[in-house]
């Protein structure tokens, strides 16, 4: 239960509501617990009336009225309990989930690369709801159970303490059985889930690998394997059914034993005249009031245990320190950036990697110039530009922006000065307009249109039925790879950044459109520093400086003409692209 202590600040926030809720629990119990007493009195009076043949309706009406009246008050209390404690648990769930997102937002890029999204989603949904269960029902039921138990036992002892002790004998077994069966069910359930995921994996594999299976005529074999897995799953389900099915019958038998004890020994007392028939009636009614608390006891223990386990998992996320953030050396007087960049013997090694990804990078980029980076896949191009918005921090050398150490520039100043078009285009499923203006707070309608114009997405957008208000991914409106890239470029341009980074951002755009985008960009890039990564010579040939990366090091640098005449990797690339063009025309 210890991990649940972390919830203390959340619970304190709703302290008053929760305390009021506990009061209503007491209220509903008090008003419920006396009802069987009224019933007992009524039965006694009825018996008296039947035996003496007198008219008893008046007094009986009083008891009947009291039962209904008390039931109304108890009902109001129960209503309030749910409206306070359970509602508070929903508020705590809300706070917890918000805090989780807010914490995730602070964690660095490498964390998300190493943590499967599915895991994080599971924490955000299943674990939070398990914790919620532990705070809502986990508070309501135990308090209710304790109250009911103490009140009912008090009333029963007052009525007849010997009989009470007798009928209580099977009760602890009820709690124990619920607790043990609950645990067993959880274990078998996990077992069953594992079998289900084996089944899913097999379906996933054989459906994705359907080509190989058909090619090698293995359909029957795979069917047989699937049949075995399904059969195993069926057996696990039946084991679960065995355990789950036993719960209620067993419960009824245990409770039935209590009832038999009560009626038999109580009945003997009535026969001997040591107890009234009304008391016996009240007694059996009390007995039925004990059943639920006994069940709840075992059940709540499981809820609390699950909540604690989930809280533990959540805690591992909450305890994760953000790697990249402003520190004590951050110079908060820096409020803008001009766009000068200097790499001084920069090296970078990924965490747990044996080889450095970047080695001894020296590169000076004057404000307002355009630098292109070329190289084979895996040469370190993306890593190099990822260092600029500090998605990673360098592990050696110095990286200076406007002559200042990048780590001393406030993170939000740094990032707001950069327009980044990542290699993997990512758009949100919102409208196109919302995606384009994603990085700005205030904007003019013309800005949006001119950004769309520059990136050559405007014409495409105007053909959509709702134009800029078209929601991406809705009703089959999907953008092509090229359209997505152009939207992503518009988003970066929209920020009017001092530094524009295009990481292979035109790869899915045809050469004709590319030419137009580059034309427009040339105008836009005036006075801005740009870094362009590309595989295509046509994209980079006009840059002020072209650098060629290989295995994390700069091996060629110069203008297009310099590099073509140098006859290295760049020249080779140039040659091949000419050939491709010729092939295309054949």
């Amino acid at each position: 239960m210890r991990p649940l202590l972390r919830l203390k600040p959340y619970l304190l926030r709703y302290k008053k509501t929760l305390l009021f809720g506990l009061l209503t629990v007491i209220g509903s119990n008090v008003f419920t617990v006396v009802q069987p007493m009224f019933l007992g009195k009524a039965v006694d009076e009825l018996k008296h009336g039947i035996e003496s043949h007198t008219f008893v309706s008046g007094d009986l009406l009083l008891w009947a009225g009291l039962i209904v009246g008390f039931s109304i008050i108890a009902g109001i209390c129960t209503f309030l309990t749910r409206q306070t404690i359970i509602v508070a648990s929903r508020h705590i769930e809300f706070d917890l989930r918000n805090d989780l997102l807010s914490h995730l937002q602070k964690l660095s890029y490498s964390y998300f690369q190493n943590t499967p999204t599915g895991d994080l989603m599971a924490h955000a949904t299943n674990d939070i709801s398990a914790v919620r269960n532990a705070v809502g029902p986990g508070i309501m039921y135990p308090s209710d159970t304790v109250m009911t138990l103490s009140f009912v036992l008090m009333m029963m002892f007052m009525a007849d303490w010997q009989l009470t002790l007798l009928v209580l004998i099977p009760m602890p077994f009820v709690s124990y059985v619920v607790y043990r069966l609950g645990k067993l069910v959880n274990k078998i359930f996990t077992d069953r889930q594992e079998q289900f995921s084996l089944l899913t994996t097999h379906a996933q594999e054989t459906l994705s690998g359907v080509r190989i299976i058909k090619a090698y005529v293995r359909e029957e074999y795979e069917s047989e394997r699937f049949r075995k897995l399904s059969w195993e799953y069926l057996k696990k389900n039946l084991v679960l059914a065995q355990v789950q099915s036993i719960m209620w019958p067993l419960m009824f038998v245990l409770v039935g034993i209590s009832l038999v004890i009560a009626i038999y020994f109580g009945g003997l007392k009535v026969i001997d005249g040591r107890m009234t028939i009304g008391t016996l009636t009240a007694f059996t009614a009390y007995l039925s009031m004990l059943i639920w608390p006994m069940i709840a006891f075992g059940w709540v223990t499981n809820i609390l245990q699950q909540g604690a386990a989930s809280m533990n998992r959540l805690a591992t996320i909450f305890d994760k320190e953000p790697e990249i953030k402003d520190t004590g050396t951050t110079d908060h007087s820096i409020d803008h950036i001009d766009g000068g960049i200097e790499f001084r013997s920069v090296s970078f090694t990924h965490k747990n990697a044996a080889q450095p990804t970047l080695k001894n990078i020296n590169l000076m980029i004057e404000p307002g110039t355009t630098v292109a980076i070329v190289g084979y896949t895996g040469s370190g191009k993306s890593t190099l530009v990822n260092l600029l918005p500090r998605l990673y921090d360098i592990t050696g050398g110095e990286l200076l922006i406007d002559g200042k150490d990048i780590r001393n520039i406030p993170l939000d100043v740094l990032r707001s000065s950069i327009g980044f078009v990542p290699q993997e285009t990512f758009l949100f499923s919102e409208t196109i307009a919302e995606n384009i203006r994603y990085g700005v707070d205030e904007f003019k309608e013309e800005d949006l249109h001119s950004a769309a114009e520059t990136s050559q997405i405007a014409k495409d957008v105007l053909e959509f039925p709702k134009q800029f208000n078209t929601t991406i991914g809705e009703r089959g409106i999907t953008l092509s790879g090229g359209q997505k890239q152009r939207t992503s470029i518009a988003r970066a341009i929209m920020r009017q950044p001092k530094i524009l980074i295009l990481d292979d951002a035109l790869s899915a755009v045809d050469t004709f459109t590319e030419e137009k985008i580059l034309q427009h960009l040339r105008e836009f890039m005036k006075g801005r520093t740009s870094i362009i990564i590309s595989h295509r010579i046509s994209t980079v040939k006009d840059a002020d400086l072209i650098v060629v990366l290989q295995n994390g090091a700069i091996i060629e640098r110069g203008t297009h003409d310099d590099l073509v005449s140098f006859g290295g990797i760049y020249a080779d690339l140039h040659q091949k692209q000419l050939l491709e063009q010729q092939l295309e025309e054949m």
Binding site: V43, L46, I50, R90, N98, S223, Q244, I263, F420, L583
Partner: protein
């Protein structure tokens, strides 16, 4: 995901009739389940009756021995009831599990029959959902959904029976609250369903947002959108909370209301009994029994109202399942097939035309991927297919294994049109090595023999030795029994390729189809692979989509495919001399390899 959330109508006679058919093999079990339900209900309803006897005939008469007998009988009935209830609960689960097992296998078999055209059109994720979750949803319908409805109805009927036989007037008085209980329960169900749906929608929104913003966290961070996204999330989160709070309200009203209705009924019982005490028509035992009956009503009523939800989800899932089972995208197989026992390995393509969308549009000609393809390969020969990306190379080898049917022309093996033979017979003679090596989770051995018992371990080992895969396999712990993770995650690209070569050899086909991988590997592995390819090509008819100069040079014939047509054909030297497409391709893709190997 959204598609899976939509709930349709609760009952559709056509779907229901089709679903019920799945219960047919288990009709006797279902019948037994109904009988057991009847017994359980009867014993449930008889419980207050024992109380009445205990009070009225034993206690009031002072008969201690009689009381003991009554109570022992009561205990016996309850224990028997416990056993029957247990058996029945297990039986209904058994029926549900068996039925969905059958259904799941049917769906899986059906998926295997469908042709690749179907797989090209349907995302794998959706198909997996059909086999797993959609089938799973029906479990509840087949188990508790059908048998338990009887149980609930019987229980209510049983309670009515005992109440009316004990005292019909008191029964009427007690039951006067029942309409309120009915109405209240169904009103609550309706409201709860609405809010539940609302909560589901909000959960889906939270999940979508989370999923998207975790995947796109990079964008959020570099565009400084953390605060904005947070407040957006907070709004969605709040809608979720509020939907839940609305639902809490209905629960908070409903449960005390049920208690209150119960209390009113108790009040009515006492009042009526007292009113008629003079006439002595109501006994104490009857009053106590009625108080107990009163508590027993509402569980079956609540259960019945829950069945509505079960039906609704079952209808939605079964509709999707039946839609899949009705899909008939399969190959065109003629009724009489020619046998294909032995194959020499002569291959001929005669004026083959192929399009993935043959009847897409009446006004336009189909978008041909391959046009007028004709060539032939003698048994034992190797043919290399070269061409730029998108030339139609992969399509061509897919046609040979008859993954798709062609629209015009003929493909012949040993002079037999492949449309005249069973595709399974055809494929037994062709081993296919794809560019993306697909490995299954399991071990090394069954990734080579694909679980084929006809291939002994010795042949697996021999095949691995022949392609030089034995070296890395023997180095693994457990060698051929070493575990292979999903998609071969722990193996290197080169190792995966060697494994797929060994797989092809283990099946010892007459015809080999090889789509060479382009991914770069280290020099040592490259040499292993080149050596392995040489071994594979020996003595069998081979079609290779070649990316290696060594493979091309050793081919008997090179086919140059360009924009869906065969543009050049010949051997390496002849084609170079032509100074056409092949020459360009050579300079673009293969020349470097020559420089490297020299």
């Amino acid at each position: 995901m959204a598609e899976e959330e939509i709930l349709g109508k609760a009952y559709d006679a056509r779907l229901m009739r089709r679903l019920i058919k799945y219960l047919k093999p288990y009709r006797w079990h279902v019948a037994l389940g109904i009988v057991l339900s009847l017994l359980v209900s009867a014993m449930e309803a008889v419980r207050p009756y024992f109380t009445k006897i205990a009070v009225d005939t034993n206690i009031v008469q002072g008969d201690a021995h009689g009381l003991l007998v009554t109570m022992l009988m009561f205990l016996a009935v309850m224990i028997v009831r416990g056993f029957i209830q247990y058996a029945n609960a297990y039986l209904t689960q058994w029926i549900g599990q068996r039925t969905i097992f059958d259904l799941r296998m049917e769906v899986y078999h059906h998926l295997q029959k469908l042709s690749l055209t179907f797989y090209d059109r349907n995302p794998i994720g959706r198909l997996i959902t059909r086999v797993t979750n959609d089938v799973e949803v029906l479990n509840e319908m087949f188990s508790s959904g059908i048998v338990m409805v009887f149980s609930d109805v019987f229980t209510i009927a049983g309670i009515f029976y005992f109440m009316f036989t004990m005292n019909w007037k008191l029964a009427l008085v007690t039951l006067s609250v029942l309409p309120f209980l009915f109405y209240g329960t169904f009103l609550f169900r309706k409201k709860a369903r609405e809010t539940y749906r609302d909560v589901r929608i909000q959960i889906a929104r939270i999940n979508t947002f989370m999923q998207e913003h975790i995947t796109g966290m990079l964008i959020d961070q570099i565009f400084n959108r953390e605060k904005k996204s947070y407040s957006k999330f907070s709004d969605i989160n709040a809608s979720h909370r509020d939907a839940n709070i609305r639902s809490i309200f209905y629960y908070a009203v409903f449960y005390p209301s049920v208690d209150l209705i119960g209390a009113v009924a108790v009040g009515l019982i006492i009042w009526y009994a007292g009113h008629n005490a003079l006439e002595g028509v109501v006994t104490i035992g009857t009053v106590m029994a009625f108080v107990q009956f009163n508590e027993m009503f509402w569980r079956p009523i609540r259960d019945l109202s829950e069945k509505y939800n079960i039906l609704q989800t079952a209808m939605a899932s079964s509709e999707r399942l039946f839609q899949l089972l009705d899909d008939k995208t399969i190959l065109n197989i003629p009724p009489t097939l020619l046998p294909l026992k032995q194959v020499r390995g002569d291959i001929e393509f005669r004026n083959v035309y192929f399009s993935y969308t043959p009847q897409a549009d009446h006004e336009h000609a189909p978008a041909w991927i391959l046009k007028n393809i004709s060539f032939s390969i003698q048994q034992g020969q190797t043919v290399a297919i070269v061409g730029h990306t998108g030339a139609g190379k992969t399509t061509m080898i897919n046609l040979l294994s008859r993954f798709y049917d062609i629209q015009q022309g003929e493909i012949l093996i040993d002079g037999i049109n492949i449309q005249q033979v069973d595709p399974k017979d055809l494929r037994k003679h062709i081993a296919v090595v794809l560019q993306d090596v697909f490995l299954f989770s399991g071990n090394i051995q069954n990734n080579i023999d694909l679980g084929n018992d006809a291939i002994p371990l010795e042949r697996v080992k021999a095949a691995a030795r022949l392609v030089g895969a034995n070296r890395f396999i023997d180095a693994l712990p457990n060698a051929y029994a070493a575990e292979v993770k999903e998609r071969g995650a722990t193996l290197s690209v080169g190792q995966k390729q060697l494994l797929s070569f060994a797989r092809a050899l283990a099946f010892n086909p007459r015809i080999l189809v090889l789509d060479e991988a382009t991914s770069s590997v280290d020099t040592e592995t490259e040499q292993l692979i080149q050596h392995a390819i040489k071994k594979m090509l020996q003595g069998r008819t081979s079609i290779v989509i070649a990316h290696r100069l060594s493979t091309i040079q050793s081919a008997d014939k090179i086919i140059v495919l360009h924009k869906g047509e065969i543009r050049e054909m010949g051997n390496h030297q002849e084609l170079l001399a032509l100074n056409g497409i092949y020459r360009k391709l050579y300079e673009l893709q293969y020349k470097d390899q020559e420089i490297k190997s020299n």
